[in-house]
Amino acid sequence: MDIYKALVDIVGEEFVSRNEEELYIYSRDSGLTEREKPDFVVMPGSAEEVQKIVLLANKYKIPLIPVGASLTLSGLAVPIRKGIVVDLRRMDRIIEVNRLGRYAVIEPGVTQGKLKAFLERNYPDLCHSMPDAPPSATVVGNILIHGQGNLSQLYGFNSTMVTGLEIVLPTGKICRIGSCSLSPYWFAVEPLPYLAGIFLGWFGTTGIITKLGLRLYPRKRLRDIEVFVLDDPEKVADVVYRITHTEMAEDVITMEQPYPMMFRDVVLVQIYFNGDSEEEIEFKRKMLWNSVMNYIRSRDGGFMFLTPDVQEDFLEKPASSVTRFADVMKGGGFVYCGAIIPVEKFAEALRKLKEIAKRHEITYGHVGRIVGRGHCMMFSFSFPFNRADRASMERAKEALHESYLATLELGGIPWKPELFAQKMILERMDKNAAELMKQIRGLLDPNGIMNPGNWEVEP
């Protein structure tokens, strides 16, 4: 069978490639995962084309790797068993925005930047939860890896904001989940049995999303920030508890890094809040200040005075300072283990991060995001490296692997883990739960074609 020709027949010659230079691009992401070239890259333009590709792959048992912008940094979109990479970025329509119901229906190729710009232009009183990823990252990709955004402190992981799904199942059936399965409205996946969970956090191993309903939220006219500074990491969890108790904050971010010097030996708790008027902003600011007044009085913590340029930097959405950190070693590389941990483990996690960095003679950075009013947090163990310096890359890799282990020791779970860490998770997981995952996957994907290697439970 001439697979190339079959793919051309489905999407047209323009949207299939087996050229070495293009395969090279899809052989890697920006992290440290080993490269592996796919056999083909295909860019479908519709759910029907995706369906035909899946049917073809199923017939010939060819691995399929659905990708958005391939920005996970942990190799989730690297075709480790070769096969066909399905690049979904042509499917980038914002199909519908229901203003009064505050939801949007989008295709998988819609980027963070596109949705943000579209809403700002057409629905200025609505917004979505935006991660600090590059604007080229896809909204659906972020949701499928349980990403977090600037609204996660209020509403939880971005994956909890899904109101409906259209999926091409691994056997080629197109399936709708949620209200959209029986109604023209995409308002919720409830009150039906919660099937959405079979597709969220599975890294494309259970199907290919072709449409997604997404909750939108009120976008206030003004946005501001206060930065609370502590020199004792042990106090951070309580500070976060007090701040989130006010219900005044939109986003709460923790930060610790050795450079610039002003940030050394202190932990910053960035508190974002918003309002439609100055009065609302000032009221919220006052509530936030009052919530940590005990630390101010004891001289254990205080709010930073932010110069306008620093404030502007902090308020940027998404924060480009992340990319500056990525190039701190020059040569433009960084990896991180996003540990989802209880907030009470903050100080211990920070200690481990510093120990790991010291052991591997590597610089580090930490940015964390509170999820769901302190229900948990994403704690990043971040390590920059220089791509031109093999030794620096090795050190970063070793530090990263140790961070995965440290996360599990803390009672946390590595977020969007690379294969190595997925295995560590599965080994420690309740055996029956792991078996259930295997059964679900076997049921949905009997030929094991979907992003193989990921979430594979050993026999």
Partner: protein
């Protein structure tokens, strides 16, 4: 180590106790003020050590040159009474540690030389007719350190200052123009009060601007604008150079509006008060100050200190008043010529 030149007899004899009676952030009558100043000169605890907003104004209110503010800050440190939370102080201490981008020496720098302190963002503004042929030095190796007066940690100033002076002196300059008022006040008032030798002549930016405007007087087209001036804290340490400002305003055709909170009665920009975590006071001070400027129909709010600008510019803009640094206003008068 350097000791403050402080004469207790001067305070004991004082009948007006202006240093505390005139304080804008604490309320004392003469009797109470006398009691508190006596506690201070005896090295005892006083409410002043806890409530001081660190505006520096008492240094100016004391017409006998006895350095009440320096005494307060030394006592705060001695007694461990820190006006700001520990982590905020930690940030400020770390801020001044030189990094890779800081140069201890500027080869080829020659007079006239302007020290830009830690304000690299102003390099682009040091250009045009007023700044022809000037050299600039800047960075943490030239940072005056005076800010630690606000945080009850003045020993850091005395510890670091000799090295900073050495870094500047190594260039062989006879005179150095200080862009930041705080630097000028460090190398004059503070160094003198603690007997720290400064082997070059500090020149205030006002003096530099005035002399250079004077040279180009024929090129000036008067601005004919009404301005409010925001005094910064360290001007209280060196009030003798303030007359240059009035001369500058006169030269460029800027009318300094009559208002309540000007000259010796000036209010703090609020930035430091906020850093000391006194949010209500910060809001109140900024509000009173800006409303006063607006009432006096000021069109511009003129700043001498970049930190004051950062703290107050947004507030004055909201009131329809244009914030401007003094040298930018001067350039405007020349540019129109």
């Amino acid at each position: 180590m350097f000791e403050l030149k402080f004469d207790r007899a001067v305070c004991e004899d004082c009948t007006t106790v202006d240093c505390l009676v005139r304080c804008q952030y604490m309320d004392f009558d003469v009797e109470e003020a006398k009691r508190e100043i006596m506690k201070l000169i005896n090295g005892e605890d006083s409410v002043v050590l806890h409530e001081c907003a660190t505006c520096y104004a008492c240094e100016e209110y004391c017409k006998r040159g006895n350095h009440p503010f320096y005494l307060i800050t030394d006592l705060q440190e001695k007694k461990g009474i820190f006006p700001a939370p520990r982590p905020i102080l930690r940030q400020w201490i770390n801020l001044a540690i030189p990094g890779k981008k800081d140069f201890p020496h500027f080869p080829g720098a020659k007079e006239p030389v302007i020290s830009l302190c830690l304000f690299p963002e102003y390099i682009g503004s040091i250009q045009g007719k007023l700044f022809e042929d000037v050299s600039v030095i800047l960075g943490r190796h030239f940072f005056c350190q005076l800010v630690y007066l606000h945080f009850g940690k003045p020993s850091i100033i005395r510890e670091r200052l000799p090295k900073i002076i050495e870094n500047i002196a190594n260039h062989g300059f006879k005179e150095v123009v200080f862009f930041h008022d705080e630097c000028y006040s460090t190398f004059t008032s503070y160094a003198n009060a603690y007997g720290i030798h400064v082997p070059f002549k500090p020149v205030h930016f006002f003096e530099y601007l005035y002399e250079n405007l004077k040279k180009r007087e024929s090129e000036i087209e008067p601005l004919n604008v009404k301005v409010a001036y925001q005094r910064n804290c360290s001007t209280r340490l060196t009030p003798w150079k303030e007359h240059y400002l009035d001369k500058i305003f006169e030269l460029i055709g800027a009318e300094r509006v009559e208002r309540k909170y000007d000259r010796e009665n000036a209010l703090c920009c609020g930035g430091i008060i906020r850093s000391l975590q006194r949010y209500d006071l910060f809001v109140d001070v900024q509000k009173r100050n800006v409303e006063d400027m607006a009432r006096a129909n000021a069109e511009y709010c003129v700043f001498n200190c970049p930190a004051c600008y950062s703290s107050l510019a947004k507030r004055v803009e909201e009131k329809g008043i244009k914030p401007v640094m003094i040298h930018e206003l001067c350039k405007l008068a020349l540019k129109r010529a």
